[in-house]
């Protein structure tokens, strides 16, 4: 629905704008915000800055793709920020402190992310913990382990991995490429795989999914493991950008990731959500932060503005849906 065509012949620009926003939901919100920023700051709308926005969105977006799986299946994952930091720390520890080759260190980091997700998933599926609590516990445990492994200090990232944070051909940032690739994977998983469709079924009606022969518990393991895996990728991209694994990186990113998913049109009660929407949600947050920095808005007011825009973006989407009825 958010992909409907912008067709509104014979109307004033104002009407056109309102309609465009209302029709296209999250995308409309992104466009509106972009227009506002472009009008307010002449530095906003240039290629380099837009690439910056892309880079700045990348980590949140990759985290948010993983969280989309969980939210579509009516769960929630508060642990992704911690898991990202833990995975990156493990990569740094393996590659730098233990001197393992990168081709071993990276899969190890990804595995750690997936296992952290698996543990949360097991607590949810077999321990019947509410997802909020299971992943809150993992938030705490993951961060603690990252600190333990690193001794609290950043670990340098091998130079070869640093390239993940760089640009290709001097202009195309690799984090943006990774974001797009992970987004494509997420879209494919959601739309076309057995596990993806099971996410919608579990989120829409868990009992029905179970009675239709879906092994709900095993699927939940896979769902949370995927979220952990995406978090690990995000953590590695983040550390590559910084060329060091920071045990205290990505604190609080889980809320940004969840906000991105919901701004992108998913429902927290499960059963709906799209990778494209999530990408748009992450871009909205990045445009907002970038624009507020460009406008030199005071630090304190930035927080106020961020809150207002999050509320407004979701409000617009809610309005759109109601008017679409």
């Amino acid at each position: 629905m958010s992909a409907e065509v912008l067709a509104a012949p014979g109307s004033t620009p104002g009407q056109w704008f309102t309609r465009a926003v209302l029709r296209n939901g999250p995308l409309g919100g992104l466009i509106a915000l972009t227009v506002v920023m472009a009008v307010l700051s002449r530095d906003f709308l240039n290629g380099q800055n837009l690439l910056n926005v892309g880079v700045q969105a990348s980590v949140t977006a990759i985290l948010a793709f993983g969280v989309t799986f969980v939210i579509v299946s009516a769960g929630i994952d508060l642990s992704v920020g911690s898991v990202a930091a833990l995975s990156a720390t493990v990569v740094g520890w393996a590659a730098t402190s233990q001197g393992l080759p990168v081709v071993v260190a990276v899969p190890l980091g990804l595995a750690v992310g997936a296992v952290a997700g698996l543990v949360s998933g097991a607590l949810v599926a077999y321990g019947r913990l509410p997802a909020f609590i299971a992943t809150l516990a993992m938030l705490s445990v993951g961060r603690g382990l990252a600190l333990v492994i690193s001794g609290g200090s950043p670990i340098a990232f091998p130079a070869s991995l640093g390239r993940l944070g760089d640009t290709l051909g001097g202009w195309l940032p690799v984090p943006v490429l990774v974001m797009v690739a992970m987004g494509a994977v997420a879209a494919l998983v959601l739309a076309r795989t057995y596990t993806g469709r099971a996410m919608f079924a579990i989120g829409g009606n868990e009992e029905a999914a179970r009675l239709s022969g879906i092994d709900v518990r095993r699927r939940k393991l896979v769902i949370y493991a995927l979220s952990g895996l995406f978090a690990a990728v995000a953590g590695i991209v983040l550390a590559s950008r910084l060329t060091s694994a920071q045990p205290q990186a990505a604190v609080g990113y889980e809320l940004d990731a969840i906000a991105a998913v919901v701004i992108g049109g998913a429902s927290l009660s499960g059963g709906s959500g799209k990778a494209s929407g999530t990408l748009i949600g992450a871009l909205i947050l990045a445009v907002l932060r970038n624009g507020l920095n460009l406008l030199s808005v005071s630090a304190f007011w930035q927080q106020v503005a961020t809150g207002l825009v999050i509320a407004l973006a979701v409000l617009l989407d809610t309005l759109r849906r109601r008017s679409a009825r």
């Binding site: 076309r192 057995y194 469709r197 079924a201 989120g203 009606n205 009675l211 239709s212 092994d215 059963g271």
Partner: protein, 523 residues
């Protein structure tokens, strides 16, 4: 329609056998040593009051529950059914009493949920899935696109999707738990046709229903459950009174014991020109004190929408509603309640009950304001009131602190009605009041309706169960496509007369095919 099976000793070899199965839930022994057998090519009806254990029994066969004791044999070999997948492997397909559909997914995906066809790459093959779904939808005569999200379907169509889903399994044993509760006669006829085909093909069918007339029409054998025990097994040709006696353990003199009070009273509800674009138009009628007015029509005729608009749940575009000469504000449930209206919604669990709250909280919910003094709720008064009304309605419960979820369907419905009695409603709108409720409990609800009208209240009864509408209403209004197309007073209200109006479009041209009329014979 006569049962085709009366004289044929139906069925071939035994497909399924249940021996001495027992199942307890906390505080309830739902099943106690139940036996059952199912042969290939027979329709075996399970009969019993609400809470007798029918659904629990079939849940053992579908892998939703495990028996505490006893065994299940499939093809003579003992089977352990732990999950829906196990059941599927054994060739058992089940249509559960509760819908098991995912609202956000399409019809096609719901049909193939968990078993989607895949492409060579292991991805879901949507084209194949839609093609196969379209085939199944044709078979159940459901005219919707496989790409429609099920959230957009009405309750009857949902049931047909469930049936298509069960058929897609090509099972040897098909279990149907009250599939006809939400269907109109037209769809019931389609369903019966399908079941007969399956029987010819040697499928064993377990069929649960509270509509006794369906038993002779479709069944071969009947197993009667009472209080979790299998009481007896009789041929399906056993007459209805005898079946009722077996089921409830006593005779029920009259299935529709309507007693009309002397003379119609003053008008309680007056509706004029009520319209909401896309839902209903120009609805006008009156209900007088002491009356039961039936509102009949095919599913989707707009009856529920009218009830919700009257009660202030939804807004309406035009028209007036007067209760006792005063007009409650539009779209305001509290105003409607103050005026004396009460609504027993069609979706008992979704809209009528706080399933996990106590019966006391449920019964007193609609009078919470009145039990509140200076912001504080008089909990003792609540308990007293709840106890009194529960006693008056003869609710079968272990106590007022029991949760509503654990009551049987009939007792749940009594709780919802009790809530409105306590709220002091004088005009009660009952939307599908006896859907899924057993004969015994139905009669108790009808007696309650009598008590209410005798006390000067009135009832607007929406029902898709034609015998019920005819048996209990003093007047019948018929709706079709969002309009009232006719009113039939007591003696003119016959099934044929109602159906003729119901299938007629408001313009006056009949647009339904013959099967609707044929289906109406079933009742």
């Amino acid at each position: 329609m006569t049962g085709v099976n009366d004289d044929v000793p139906a069925g071939g070899r035994e497909l399924l056998r249940v021996e001495g199965v027992t199942k307890s839930f906390p505080g309830v022994r739902a099943l106690d040593g139940v036996d059952l057998s199912l042969r290939a090519g027979e329709v075996h009806v399970l009969l019993g009051e609400n809470g007798a254990g029918k659904s629990t029994l079939i849940k053992m066969l579908s892998g939703a529950h495990r028996p505490d004791e006893g065994r299940i044999l499939v093809d003579g070999r003992e089977a352990v059914i732990r999950s829906a997948q196990d059941a599927e492997r054994l060739g058992i397909a089940t249509i559960h009493q509760e819908f098991n559909l995912v609202p956000g997914l399409t019809v096609a995906e719901n049909i193939f949920l968990g078993r989607q066809p895949r492409t060579a790459l292991g991805l879901v093959d949507r084209r194949e899935m839609r093609a196969r779904a379209a085939e199944l939808l044709r078979r159940v005569r459901l005219d919707v696109s496989p790409a429609t999200p099920v959230a957009e379907l009405g309750i009857a169509r949902l049931q047909m999707v469930e049936i298509a889903k069960a058929l897609s399994l090509d099972a040897r044993v098909l279990i149907m738990d009250e599939p006809t509760a939400v269907l109109t006669s037209e769809e019931v006829a389609t369903l019966f046709g399908i079941v007969r085909e399956l029987r010819e093909a040697g499928v064993g069918v377990i069929f649960i229903t509270h509509h006794l007339d369906e038993i002779a029409a479709l069944g071969d054998r009947v197993t009667v459950l009472r209080d979790g025990r299998s009481v007896t097994e009789v041929p399906a040709s056993t007459d209805e009174d005898e079946l009722i006696r077996l089921m409830v353990g006593r005779d029920i003199a009259e299935q529709y014991p309507r007693r009309r009070p002397e003379g119609p009273g003053a008008p309680l509800l007056r509706v004029r020109g009520l319209t909401r674009a896309g839902a209903f138009a120009d609805i006008g009628f009156e209900v007088r004190a002491g009356e039961v007015v039936g509102l009949a029509g095919l599913v989707g005729a707009g009856r529920t929408e009218v009830a919700r608009a009257l009660f202030g749940v939804d807004r309406y575009d035009a028209g007036t509603v007067e209760v006792d000469g005063r007009a409650p504000a539009r779209g305001d449930v509290r105003a409607a309640m103050r005026a004396g209206l009460g609504l027993v919604p069609e979706d008992r669990k979704g809209q009528g009950l706080l399933l996990d709250a106590s019966l006391r909280d449920n019964l007193t919910l609609a009078r919470l304001d009145r039990d509140t003094r200076g912001g504080f709720v008089d909990r003792r008064a609540q308990r007293r009131e709840a106890a009194a009304v529960a006693e008056r309605l003869k609710v079968r419960m272990s106590g007022l602190e029991q949760s509503a979820r654990t009551l049987s369907g009939g007792n749940q419905q009594k709780i919802v009605i009790g809530k409105w009695l306590l709220a002091g409603a004088r005009l009660l709108i009952l939307d599908e009041p006896t859907r899924g409720i057993d004969v015994g409990a139905k009669v108790e609800i009808y007696q309650l309706v009598n008590e209410l009208t005798a006390a000067g209240c009135a009832v607007l009864m929406i029902s898709s169960d034609l015998p019920e509408v005819l048996g209990m209403s003093d007047r019948v209004l018929v709706m079709a496509q969002g309009r009232i197309v006719g009113e039939l007073a007591g003696e003119e209200a016959t099934q044929d007369a109602v159906m003729e109006l119901a299938v007629r479009s408001p313009g006056g041209v009949g647009n339904r095919n013959e099967s609707a009329m044929e289906g109406s014979d079933v009742g």
